[in-house]
Subunit: 321 residues, 2 copies
Amino acid sequence: MYRPEIKVIDCSIRDGGLMNKSNFSMEMVRKVLKAINNSGADIIELGYKNSKEFFSPQEYGPWRFCDEDVLRKVTEGIDLKTKIAVMQDAHKADADDVLPKAESVIDVIRVATYVKDVDKAIHLANNATNKGYKATINVMAISHALDRELDEALRQIEAETDIMACYLVDSFGALYSEDIHYYVEKFQKHIKTKEIGIHCHNNQQLAFANTIEGIIKGVNFLDGTLYGIGRGAGNCPLELLMSFLKNPKFDIRPLLDVIGTDMITLFKEIEWGYSIPYMITGILNLHPQGAMKHMALPEDDVDKQNFIKFYEISASDDILD
Amino acid sequence: MYRPEIKVIDCSIRDGGLMNKSNFSMEMVRKVLKAINNSGADIIELGYKNSKEFFSPQEYGPWRFCDEDVLRKVTEGIDLKTKIAVMQDAHKADADDVLPKAESVIDVIRVATYVKDVDKAIHLANNATNKGYKATINVMAISHALDRELDEALRQIEAETDIMACYLVDSFGALYSEDIHYYVEKFQKHIKTKEIGIHCHNNQQLAFANTIEGIIKGVNFLDGTLYGIGRGAGNCPLELLMSFLKNPKFDIRPLLDVIGTDMITLFKEIEWGYSIPYMITGILNLHPQGAMKHMALPEDDVDKQNFIKFYEISASDDILD
């Protein structure tokens, strides 16, 4: 028996874009879009709608900005059932970049925020809903949030917005199943009139498992990516998530197809997934930036596979302070 | 707070040996043994003690047989705190290959069995305990066992043996957290005088998560392998498991070290871990042999990345019958 309220969101291009500065070809994004659309997933996030004041268009690809003409081109001629989403970072996006809904192919604006930036996030989310979009607020780095501040942020989001879902985001892949239960219950205590969503990272190979724990506790907005593509250790693999869900509207075959034609090749170019440096930042509850730097070392670097050294540097007070 | 009853068992060489016909060098096994010993893990399984009537010593390496002289050589000069285990397959091993305990460096004999072979397993386990060893019985392919037959097997194991632990083995990586809860409760209903163990496969990236669920439900014998090495999608990564456990006797640094010096190189030679063919046999609750054949196709084979075809063949009645 399935829960019809469940929505599946593909974030392959958006989260994967953190590994290649959002430089995917138009052809590839169209293939991903078609596959996601044919799989029955509810929403696809095609990138960030972040400000060109924060990111140079010379350095970053089109999926960091999701200009309207780019989105029209990528969706052209596709009979879309899946809704189109973009993400705005609370501290790196401009409300004025969002057109009125009637002028855009975007359906959903997802605002990513740290707890400290929740007022900016609420401003962007309300900007989106006022212009006619559905919106979400995704609370990042939840494993670094202080409980009292998180409670206050959730109360604000509940009282001051009209979003459709509020997400808990395990940005560092640091949470275990009991943590997921704890945070979902906390969200449920405050978020009464909106759905709850979950977005997990795979540093400890727990992204899929933790998403299931979210489902068991009543979370209805579920993020995944093709073959787990995403920053660092990546995300909950969409093909696993969809095969777990029972709703007959879902079909994993288009996902398997595009993984075979495109994602395996991409995986060899921009490596994501489980590795010891990402595992170490996960168990230490740290941002993956140190691990990403370590992963970028050349193969013949003397420290490349000196994981004890990486562990000890990462665990030292210098880093944690 | 930690549970002192918890025992951690490394199966890297034994389960990994299913990927290379147990052909590891003496030097490498000594490095693994030293690392596991220094990590504080309770038991290391160095291979199978299977019959040379079933496996040709020309084709299979020494860790498929674990002859006493090989085990003496590999342990020579190492101040062992970790106990030495070997595995006997209920349907492929000979009781007479087991020496009296006084003549062996082996401490633990683990008997792997399908439910249908439980009488053979009990015979081998009692042979081991009668000769002075500790023993376990590991019930494989639990996701294919009929409940009534599994209940009967567990009642027999409880009544007819003096083993220290009875394992539930998710051979196909098919189980979700709720399944683990179900099976642990079933084991606990029957197995009253022995510990319960868990051994998981990673087809759906759930091996570590399901091991944690076992811990939460009271399972005390926990299997893992370095960097997840093992048949097909591999096992619960020992470095993740040990970093989750709180017992101060454990130290993950020796594990990180040997992963850096040896396992990463080995991983490039004999690939294990998450891949779409293993994921497909996992979600379909099938033996991984079809996926292993598919993985062995040459890179330029036209079907190599045709995952829809592999999925449809695997899901067809021809295979399932």
